[in-house]
C-alpha cells in the first residue's frame, strides 16, 4: 500500500520534469536553429512481487522521465536577405571555437567582428577546414557546399547520432564525451541569406503538455484515493 504511494509520487515527479522540458521547448520556439528535446516516461522495476494469497504477484515499480533526446529534424528555413545568415539544409553542424573547446551550432546568425573574422552572436569564431573563417573585404559569398571563393571552407560535423551531443546553451552543442567528438562530414548543404527556424512543433507540444497535466492529475487522484483507503484501514478496521 505504501509502495503504491511512492509509485504515484514518482509519476507526479516525472511529469513535472516532462513539463519542464516542454516549457523549455516552448520558450525556444523563436530561437534560431533550436532543436526540441524529447522526453518519454520510463518504468524502473524496484522490487519484485509482493506475494499475495498465492494467486497474485504484483510487480511494483516507479516511473521516471527517461529516454530524453534531441530531435535533430531540420527546422523550416526562412529568408532574411542578410548575407551573414547561414542556414544548414538537412543534417550537419557548423564548428565554432569557444574558450571551452570546439562546439557545434545550427544557429547560423553570424556577424563579422572588428578583426574581420566570422563569429557567432557571442563572438565565437566560426571554424574552417584550416583555421577560423575570415570574411573577405568584398563581403561573404558562400556556395551551397560551404566554400568561399578564396578557398576557405566551413568545417562541419555530423549530427546523425544526437546521443553523442549534449546541449551547452547559447545555441551550442558540446560532445557528450570530449574524447569522442562527432565525426567530421563534408557533404553539408548551406543556404546563404537564410536562417533556420526552431523545429519545435507547437501543436504537438501543446498536446503533450495537456497529457502531462492530466497524467499528473491522475497520479494526484491516485495518491488521494490511496490516502483515503489507508485512512479507512487505520480508523474503520480498528473500530471493529
Amino acid at each position: 500500500m505504501i509502495q503504491a504511494l511512492y509509485t504515484a509520487a514518482s509519476g507526479m515527479a516525472s511529469n513535472q520534469t516532462r513539463l519542464d522540458v516542454l516549457a523549455n521547448n516552448l520558450a525556444n520556439v523563436g530561437t534560431t536553429g533550436f532543436k526540441q528535446d524529447l522526453v518519454a516516461i520510463d518504468t524502473t522495476q524496484l522490487a519484485n512481487a509482493v506475494q499475495g494469497e498465492g494467486e497474485y504477484a504484483l510487480t511494483m515499480s516507479t516511473v521516471h522521465a527517461g529516454r530524453s533526446g534531441i530531435d535533430m529534424t531540420p527546422g523550416s528555413i526562412r529568408s532574411t536577405g542578410n548575407l551573414m545568415d547561414l542556414a544548414i539544409e538537412g543534417p550537419g553542424l557548423i564548428v565554432v571555437s569557444t574558450p571551452d573547446g570546439e562546439r557545434y551550432t545550427r544557429g547560423g546568425s553570424f556577424v563579422r567582428d572588428a578583426n574581420g573574422y566570422l563569429t557567432t552572436d557571442a563572438g565565437f569564431q566560426v571554424m574552417g577546414q584550416s583555421g577560423p573563417i575570415r570574411v573577405p573585404e568584398t563581403g561573404l559569398v558562400i556556395d551551397g557546399t560551404g566554400r568561399l571563393a578564396d578557398g576557405q571552407a566551413l568545417r562541419f560535423v555530423s549530427d546523425a547520432e544526437p546521443s553523442r551531443l549534449v546541449k551547452a546553451g547559447g545555441n551550442l552543442y558540446a560532445p557528450a564525451d570530449e574524447t569522442t567528438p562527432p565525426d567530421a562530414v563534408n557533404d553539408v548543404a548551406i543556404a546563404q541569406g537564410q536562417i533556420e527556424n526552431s523545429n519545435v512543433n507547437v501543436v504537438r507540444t501543446m498536446v503533450e503538455m495537456l497529457c502531462t497535466l492530466r497524467s499528473y492529475e491522475a497520479y494526484q487522484r491516485t495518491i488521494q484515493a490511496l490516502d483515503q483507503t489507508n485512512g479507512q484501514a487505520s480508523t474503520d478496521l480498528g473500530r471493529v
Binding site: 507526479m12 511529469n15 513535472q16 520534469t17 513539463l19 519542464d20 522540458v21 516549457a23 523549455n24 521547448n25 516552448l26 520558450a27 525556444n28 520556439v29 523563436g30 530561437t31 534560431t32 533550436f34 528535446d37 522526453v39 522521465a65 527517461g66 529516454r67 530524453s68 533526446g69 534531441i70 532574411t80 536577405g81 542578410n82 544557429g107 556577424v111 563579422r112 567582428d113 572588428a114 578583426n115 574581420g116 552572436d121 557571442a122 544526437p162 546521443s163 553523442r164 549534449v166 546541449k167 551547452a168 546553451g169 547559447g170 545555441n171 557528450a176 564525451d177 507547437v202 507540444t205 501543446m206 503538455m209 495537456l210 502531462t212 497535466l213 499528473y216 494526484q220 488521494q224 490516502d227
Partner: protein
C-alpha cells in the same frame, strides 16, 4: 518550485523583446535611412540529471540522457544593413548611398557620428547640415550666390554661381565604412557611433573600392518590410501565448500538488 514556471517566463520575456523590436521597426517604417533590427535568441543553460552514455541499473549504457533546459535569452538585437528603397525628392541636397558606407556628421560635442540618412540642408552660413544641424564632414559650404548644386556619384560637389555659366567645385563628400556595421551603437536620430565591435571608421571616396556611390535628389527609405514585420508580430504574439499556456499548466500542477493534503 516547479522549474517550468520560470522557463516559460523566460520565453514570454523574450517574445516581449521580440515584439518591442518589431514595434520599433514598424514605427520607423517611414524614417529616412532607418535600418531594421532583429532579435536573435539563444537557449539557456541545461541541467543534465543523467548524461548520455551513463551506466543504467540494468548494466547497459543509456543511449540518451536527460537534459532539462532552463529557457531562452535574447542573444543580440542585430541591425540589418541591407539597402533601403529610393525615394525621389528632387531636393539637390538629398543624397542616397548606393552600396556600402555612411555619411559623417560632426556632433556638438566634437565627436563624429555616422548616418545613412542623407536628407541634408543648408544652414544660415551655407554649410551642409543634417536635419539636426550637425555639419556634414568634411565640411562643405555652398556660397550664398549659388543658383544650382550638383553632386556627382564620386561625391564631388559643384556649384554654379549667379551670372556664371561654368560650375566650380566647392568640396568632396567622403564616406566611412566599418568592418562590422552590425556592431555600431545606434544613438537615435538616425545616428550611429563606432564601438570596439564595429572597428574604426575607414574613410574613402564614394565609388572607390568597397564604397557605394552617391545619387543626388533621392533619399533612402527605411529597409523595414511591413509584411515581414507583421508576420513577426503574429509569430511573437502566438509564441507569447504558448508561453502563457505553459505557465498555466505549471500553475495547475502546483495547485494539484498542494491539494494532495486535504
Amino acid at each position: 518550485m516547479i522549474r517550468a514556471l520560470f522557463t516559460a517566463a523566460t520565453g514570454m520575456t523574450a517574445q516581449q523583446l521580440n515584439i518591442d523590436a518589431t514595434a520599433n521597426n514598424l514605427a520607423n517604417v517611414n524614417t529616412t535611412g532607418f535600418k531594421r533590427t532583429r532579435v536573435d535568441f539563444q537557449d539557456l543553460l541545461y541541467q543534465t540529471p543523467r548524461q548520455p552514455g551513463a551506466p543504467t541499473a540494468q548494466g547497459t549504457d543509456a543511449p540518451t540522457g536527460i537534459q532539462v533546459g532552463s529557457g531562452v535569452r535574447p542573444a543580440s538585437t542585430q541591425r540589418i544593413f541591407s539597402q533601403g528603397d529610393f525615394q525621389q525628392t528632387d531636393n539637390p541636397l538629398d543624397l542616397v548611398i548606393e552600396g556600402d558606407g555612411f555619411f559623417q556628421v560632426l556632433r556638438p560635442d566634437g565627436t563624429t557620428a555616422y548616418t545613412r540618412a542623407g536628407s541634408f540642408q543648408k544652414d544660415a552660413n551655407g554649410r551642409v547640415v543634417n536635419p539636426d544641424g550637425y555639419p556634414l564632414q568634411p565640411e562643405i559650404t555652398i556660397p550664398q550666390t549659388a543658383v544650382s548644386v550638383s553632386i556627382g556619384t564620386d561625391g564631388s560637389v559643384n556649384v554654379t554661381l549667379a551670372g556664371s555659366s561654368t560650375s566650380q567645385q566647392v568640396g568632396t563628400i567622403d564616406l566611412a565604412r566599418f568592418a562590422n556595421p552590425a556592431g555600431l551603437n545606434a544613438i537615435g536620430r538616425n545616428l550611429y557611433l563606432p564601438t570596439a565591435a564595429s572597428g574604426n571608421a575607414i574613410t574613402g571616396a564614394p565609388g572607390s573600392t568597397n564604397f557605394g556611390t552617391l545619387s543626388q535628389g533621392f533619399v533612402e527609405m527605411s529597409n523595414v518590410k511591413v509584411v515581414e514585420e507583421m508576420v513577426n508580430l503574429i509569430v511573437g504574439q502566438r509564441a507569447y501565448e504558448a508561453g502563457s499556456k505553459a505557465v498555466q499548466s505549471a500553475d495547475e500542477m502546483l495547485q494539484l500538488a498542494n491539494n494532495l493534503r486535504r
